[in-house]
């Protein structure tokens, strides 16, 4: 069945796109997250059009044709060799392996990016249909896990290629907020750099470009740079390995730091009741499923719902 972007009628001039991470999400999933976000927004929730990007259907197209077993295993081995922790290194590497595979297929990357950009186009189109010119629309993105990688790649591509009509200066499409929760962008960058020649088509893999990770931007014809995102926020948890923390230790090669972002936010995840590495190992191990994406429950430090709940007040302020 052909993929179609979500379309909503805008109640006002604001819209939020939720981009999920690894999983098998389909339209209708993440209802708990949606409720959590609405609760965080309070009465404002009624004046926001909330979109969700479900791209697993497209991922599935590639699952059958691109069984990248041995190459993916070499990526996981690369991760494993960088984690100097005998107790939790193996399970972290396996968990992270699930976010690495798009790096190895340029068609998969391009297809998911196309899904993402089509959803953004539809979002902006819905806004203009409600009478709000693109330049006056207040757009935000909240992304989690692998969704942060796709967000980073899609926004950079949109800022570079005018044909998508999503450039910040030439088409007035700017995002008030991009809020990344447990982003593996730096992990993917590090592993892609370590894999070197095994990563195809690096030309359009923006997270491995020279220089630090950056906020997408466009240079105007008259000079001057316009960023696609006004406020870039990165949130991680100190027990969440996908966000670059290995049992409360920040790993420089794994933690995302985007040039120009807001001061980083790291949640102390003490409330999860994880007191030692063995407990964390057990929890992460139980989330892994053979041949399927991990099952992330609310007690897992990688849980998106928990990140949203922890930052309800912040979200209300940022998205106001």
């Amino acid at each position: 069945m052909a993929w179609t972007p979500q379309s909503h009628q805008w109640p006002a001039d604001r819209a939020i796109l939720l981009v999920h991470g690894i999983g098998n999400a389909v339209d209708g999933d993440y209802q708990e997250l949606l409720l959590g976000l609405r609760a965080a927004l309070g009465p404002d929730a009624d004046s926001v059009a909330i979109y969700q990007l479900f791209y697993d259907q497209v991922n599935d197209w590639f699952a059958g044709k691109t069984q990248l077993g041995s190459v993916l295993q070499s990526a996981i081995t690369t991760v494993s060799s960088r984690i100097d922790d005998a107790e939790i290194g193996d399970v972290i590497a396996e968990l992270i392996g699930d976010v690495l595979w798009p790096v190895l297929s340029s068609d998969a990357r391009a297809a998911v990016r196309e899904v993402y950009l089509a959803q953004l186009q539809q979002m902006v189109a819905d806004g203009t249909a409600a009478g709000i010119p693109a330049r006056d629309q207040r757009l935000s993105i909240i992304c989690h896990s692998l969704g942060c990688f796709h967000t980073y790649e899609a926004l950079h591509h949109a800022a570079l290629y005018p044909s998508y009509m999503l450039q910040p200066a030439s088409h007035g499409v700017r995002f008030d907020n991009v809020i990344c929760m447990a982003s593996p962008v730096q992990i993917i960058r590090s592993v892609a750099e370590a894999l070197g020649g095994l990563v195809p088509n690096k030309r359009w893999l923006y997270c491995v470009k020279d220089g630090p990770l950056s906020i997408p931007s466009e240079t105007k014809l008259t000079g001057g740079i316009v960023r696609s995102v006004r406020r870039w926020i990165s949130i991680a948890g100190d027990l969440d390995p996908v966000g670059g923390y290995f049992f409360r230790q920040r790993a420089g090669w794994a933690y995302m730091q985007v040039d120009g972002q807001e001061p980083p936010i790291v949640d102390a995840q003490d409330a999860l009741g994880i007191h030692d590495k063995a407990q964390l190992h057990s929890l992460l191990r139980s989330s892994l499923r053979s041949g399927q994406p991990p099952n992330i429950t609310a007690s897992n430090p990688h849980s998106w719902e928990q990140y949203v709940a922890n930052h309800a007040n912040d979200l209300r302020a940022w998205l106001a």
Binding site: V71, I132, S163, Y164
Partner: protein, 333 residues
């Protein structure tokens, strides 16, 4: 940078022009947005989407001229003024004023069109490129330069033709994105021919060959490598009224068709989603599940039309082979 003398009366004239133009724009509104009453009262001026169908090049040029005049005294606007003036001077031909912007958007004009020197509707290549640049400069420079002078609402009304043009172009771009996804689905989706392990490896390596890569703008390549062990070829002998199984190794390329009415149940056997061609190698003897490399191999070529394939192999007694593509063992052959 062009020096211009200070003319204190100019802002007054400009704002007058701006409001005149705004009123003109309002008269273009075929119908107000129906959802207007439910919108945030903070957003007062709303774009009328009916303009997408009616706005013309003339409307866009008029908005550019008025905006340029009104913003002329803004700080750091000199470079933009030069660019706008240059583009406007290239678009003075009266015959183009009536062309609807939606028609131009549907012709997908852009940098690539200019490179190919294609004519867009009745615009020349230079006019098409100038119109594109004009729209870019207007969006990049006018909103900020004008907002402080005349307010956001007037900017919305003034730039309505520009927004109409961009809406039409974004709609076209969205259609392109959906077409790209249709093509990706054809190549990788549930109805696409599966790959065996050798093909997974070959196509992984092919990602470094430009012809096999997706384009910069996300269009997938039509091409896919084939490297397959096929034990299901059959060869017939008219004189002996017999059929022989032949095992062959295929190495070639699969080429996808992007035509919507081809492929799947709709296309049937006559209009398949792909065709293929390449080299076949068969062993010295006929038979199913034999080694294509056993003895003195026989070489030939195959051509596939969807799942149906025909091949010719040489040797002492050339043979015509037929096969239907089936995957007997997943990931193997």
């Amino acid at each position: 940078m062009t020096w211009r003398p200070w003319r204190p009366w100019r802002p007054i004239v400009c704002v007058t022009c701006l409001m005149t133009s705004a009123l003109h724009t309002i008269t273009l509104l075929a119908q107000p947005p129906t959802s207007a009453t439910s919108l945030d009262p903070a957003v007062r001026a709303r774009l009328d989407t009916a303009l997408v169908q009616t706005a013309t090049v003339g409307d866009l040029l008029r908005a550019a001229r008025v905006g340029d005049s009104a913003a002329a005294t803004a700080t750091d606007f000199a470079a933009a003024h030069v660019l706008l003036s240059r583009m406007l001077s290239r678009l003075e031909r009266p015959a183009i004023a009536h062309i609807r912007l939606e028609v131009i958007a549907e012709s997908r004009f852009g940098f690539r069109t200019v490179l190919r020197k294609q004519e867009v509707t009745s615009l020349t290549v230079l006019e098409a490129a100038s119109l594109d640049t004009l729209a870019i400069v207007m969006e990049q420079e006018l909103p900020d330069a004008l907002s402080a002078r005349v307010g956001r609402d007037s900017v919305t009304m003034l730039l309505a033709p520009l927004d109409a043009f961009n809406i039409a172009r974004r709609r076209q771009s969205l259609m392109d994105s959906r077409e790209k996804l249709f093509r990706f689905e054809r190549k990788y989706g549930p109805n696409a021919p599966p790959r065996n392990l050798a093909e997974v490896a070959a196509n992984f390596a092919a990602q470094w060959i430009p012809a096999f890569q997706p384009s910069a703008e996300g269009w997938p390549s039509r091409l896919e490598l084939i490297a397959s062990y096929v034990p299901t070829y059959v060869s017939g002998s008219l004189s002996e009224h017999t059929l022989h199984a032949v095992t062959a190794l295929e190495v070639g390329v699969r080429i996808y068709s992007w035509r919507a009415d081809w492929g799947g149940a709709q296309g049937g056997a006559l209009r398949p989603a792909y065709w293929s061609l390449g080299t076949v190698v068969a062993g010295e003897r006929n038979g199913a599940f034999t080694s294509p490399l056993a003895g003195t191999s026989r070489f030939g070529a195959f051509f596939g039309w969807g799942d149906n394939k025909i091949a010719v192999i040489g040797g002492r007694a050339p043979q015509l082979l037929f096969a239907r593509q089936v995957h007997l063992v997943p990931w193997a052959f």
